[in-house]
């Protein structure tokens, strides 16, 4: 076993089992939520666009497991995983995606705009890059409050090339904000491969240009993400400035539901599902830590029930009242 591997094993052993199990539960919840949406999308009951996070669970959960409700995250169009990792209610999320009453945004936002300010979730976003400036503001508020809270902004390998993100990296560095830029490198922006959207192969090079410390991790390995993100977040809590974390990961489904992704090399997705599934990797590590398969199975069972309940309740929930169309535009007008 290599030195790094040994160190990681020792580190894993130091994580309380409760933390590991709750991370597993969140990852599994994301996976089942997305798998279910993928199936239900075909029935025509799910309106709008859905960008599924399946395959990338270890990244969102590895990072968000270090956060409290007072730490804030800004997400992307592919936001379901970030929301669940941050503790947003699954039933209310599902209702939102169905556009129903009781949805987390009252049916006004849908999949691409799920937000829960009480949970420190500043919203999925339909505009690439738009979360980064917002997260700068959140991090500034954290810095002013002086309680050691931090902000995280998620972005994809394509979207982080937007000017808004690059300007935010500079601003966060100049203002020394407690903000982590997470780049989820899943290889694609829609159908366009990473090397066609980005001038560098490692986003750490971007961070260097802005004077930010950075790290790259295997985004499929929950424990690696958890360890690296934990160290970076701790530094931010201690008053150091922004950081960048690149997580190398894979997208299981198409860019959005309806994308047959034939632009990907034949066998790429099958191989990812077989050999690079972050949940399989997690279960293996967990068993090595002495967590029994039965314990994981129990969680799987509970999660499956929760997801099923979320769908049943969403289908039963009434549509918003027409009068709600005009509500919530302004505080006062």
């Amino acid at each position: 076993m290599s030195h790094d591997k040994k160190e990681q094993h020792a580190y894993n052993a130091s994580i309380p089992h409760d933390t590991v199990l709750s991370a597993y539960r969140r990852m599994k919840t994301i996976r089942m939520f997305e798998d279910r949406l993928h199936e239900d999308f075909k029935t025509g009951n799910v309106p709008g666009f859905a960008h599924l996070y399946a395959g990338q669970e270890a990244t969102a959960v590895g990072i968000c497991s270090h956060l409290t409700d007072q730490d804030q995250i800004a997400s992307t169009h592919r936001g379901h995983g970030h929301c669940i990792a941050k503790g947003v209610g699954v039933v209310a999320m599902m209702k939102e995606i169905y556009g129903r009453q009781g949805g987390i945004c009252n049916g006004k936002g849908g999949s691409m705009h799920i937000a829960d300010l009480k949970k420190g979730m500043l919203g999925a976003n339909g505009i690439l890059g738009a979360g980064a400036p917002l997260a700068c503001g959140a991090a500034l508020a954290d810095k002013l409050a002086g309680q050691g809270h931090v902000a995280i902004v998620f972005g994809g390998d394509g979207g982080v090339n937007e000017g808004a993100v690059l300007e935010s990296m500079n601003l966060a560095s100049v203002w020394k904000l407690p903000l982590m830029f997470v780049v989820e490198q899943n290889g694609y922006a829609q159908s366009t491969p990473q090397q066609r959207t980005t001038s560098v192969s490692s986003y750490e090079d971007r961070a260097k240009g802005f004077g930010m410390p950075a790290a790259t991790v295997d985004g499929l390995d929950f424990f690696a993400v958890y360890k690296t993100a934990g160290a970076l977040i701790q530094k931010m809590r201690e008053g150091h400035g922004p950081v960048l974390l690149e997580c190398r990961t894979v997208r299981f489904y198409g860019h959005f539901e309806g994308d047959d992704q034939v632009y990907r090399p034949a066998g790429e997705v099958d191989d990812a599902r077989k050999n690079h599934d972050c949940l399989k990797l997690f279960a293996e590590s967990a068993r090595n830590m002495g967590i029994s398969q039965a314990e994981l199975d129990r969680i799987d069972h509970e999660v499956a029930e929760l997801i099923d309940r979320a769908v049943q309740e969403s289908l039963k929930a009434p549509h918003p009242a027409l009068s709600e169309l005009h509500d919530g535009v302004y505080v006062s007008y």
Binding site: G48, G107, N161, G163, Q190, R196, T197, V262, H319
Partner: protein
């Protein structure tokens, strides 16, 4: 030869024929080819809803996938056009214009004027407009009025496959920056389109249906709704004329004024929010220029002053339809100036 093809195919055909005619013409956009270089099948996207599919296969490197960085590639399209290379660049949804607005508002629109009339910018920005596909607040807007407001930009919004092709070819041959707004809700609607290239001049509205009693003036996705209203009104004995503006800048005032002078009644409709939109503009111009021809107060039909909601039932309530147009016509028929 004339065939029935979709509005989406009509735009593809216009781009195809102009790419063939002018070897300098370039297409930019996100996934405009799509999938190139990934190792699987290339040219599988053609933009997010497939409008440019097949053009990469035909024109290769003249169809350029840009990173999702609208400020840079839209600005680069302006600069290339200014340097003599005509470009059709795609900003997938008009909602994303916020990201690249300066390059259009302060650069493309003003360069010719600021430079003393010396520059030409043969640029077309293709962009999707309108609600109706459950795209929610950031993928559904009808921001045509914002661009119409700006001197130096031309603004087009077709409602039929025939007009989409002719106006796109005109837009490409035009030497000014054109914001070409594509009503995504109508992409799959079919109509008769001549196979050969043809142009439709800017600033010429189309009388979509002749009538005597009231003029319904609109454009884009509201045109089929106005025609539906007109056919229902016909059964009630009201003869409505429907005018499809086709281009919002320049605007064909003559056709609008002539129609209102004939009918004496005006309903102006826009899918946009109600303040400072195309309908308010039409009502203002008609009221100012042919007040004495009006038999009743002009009426407007618009979406409400709210963002576009996600919930399908709320979105349906948001989008103005034939019903609202009929109600507006009834108001003009009832009241007397």
């Amino acid at each position: 030869m004339t065939r029935h093809i979709t509005l989406k195919s009509a735009i593809n055909e216009a781009l195809d024929q102009e790419m063939a005619r002018d070897p300098k013409l370039l297409l930019f956009g996100q996934d405009t080819a799509g999938g190139v270089g990934a190792g699987g099948v290339a040219d599988t996207w053609g933009g997010v809803l497939g409008v440019t599919k097949g053009l990469y296969t035909k024109y290769g490197d003249r169809v350029i996938d840009a990173p999702p960085t609208e400020m840079a590639y839209v600005g680069a399209a302006v600069g290339a056009a200014l340097s003599g290379v005509p470009v059709v660049a795609e900003v997938p949804f008009i909602d994303f214009m916020g990201v690249c607005f300066d390059q259009l508002l302060n650069q493309a629109a003003k360069i010719r004027y600021m430079f003393g009339g010396t520059a030409e910018i043969p640029l077309v920005i293709r962009t999707m407009v309108g609600a109706g596909i459950n795209g929610a607040a950031q993928h559904s807007q009808m921001l045509t009025a914002m661009f119409t407001h700006i001197p130096g930009l031309k603004v087009v919004c077709p409602s039929t496959p025939h007009d989409a092709k002719g106006l796109m070819i005109e837009a490409i041959r035009d030497k000014d920056p054109v914001i070409f707004c594509e009503p995504k809700f109508l992409y799959e609607t079919s109509g008769a389109v001549p196979a050969d290239p043809y142009t439709i001049p800017f600033g010429q509205a189309r009388i979509a249906k002749e009538g005597r009693d009231v003029s319904i003036v609109t454009y884009g996705p509201m045109v089929p709704r106005a025609l539906e209203a007109a056919s229902q009104l016909e059964q009630k004995g009201i003869s409505a004329e429907v005018i499809d503006l086709r281009t919002l800048s320049p605007l064909d005032r003559t056709t609008v004024l002539k129609s209102v002078m004939k009918t004496g009644r005006l309903v102006a409709a826009d899918e946009a929010h109600p303040r400072c939109n195309i309908a308010t503009d039409i009502v203002a111009q008609v009221t100012e220029q042919c007040f004495t021809s009006l038999k009743a107060a002009p009426q407007m039909v618009s979406a409400p002053h709210t963002p576009v909601p996600f919930s399908p039932v709320l979105e349906k309530a948001y989008i103005p339809g034939a019903e609202q147009i009929i109600a507006a016509v009834s108001r003009t028929m009832a009241s007397h100036a």
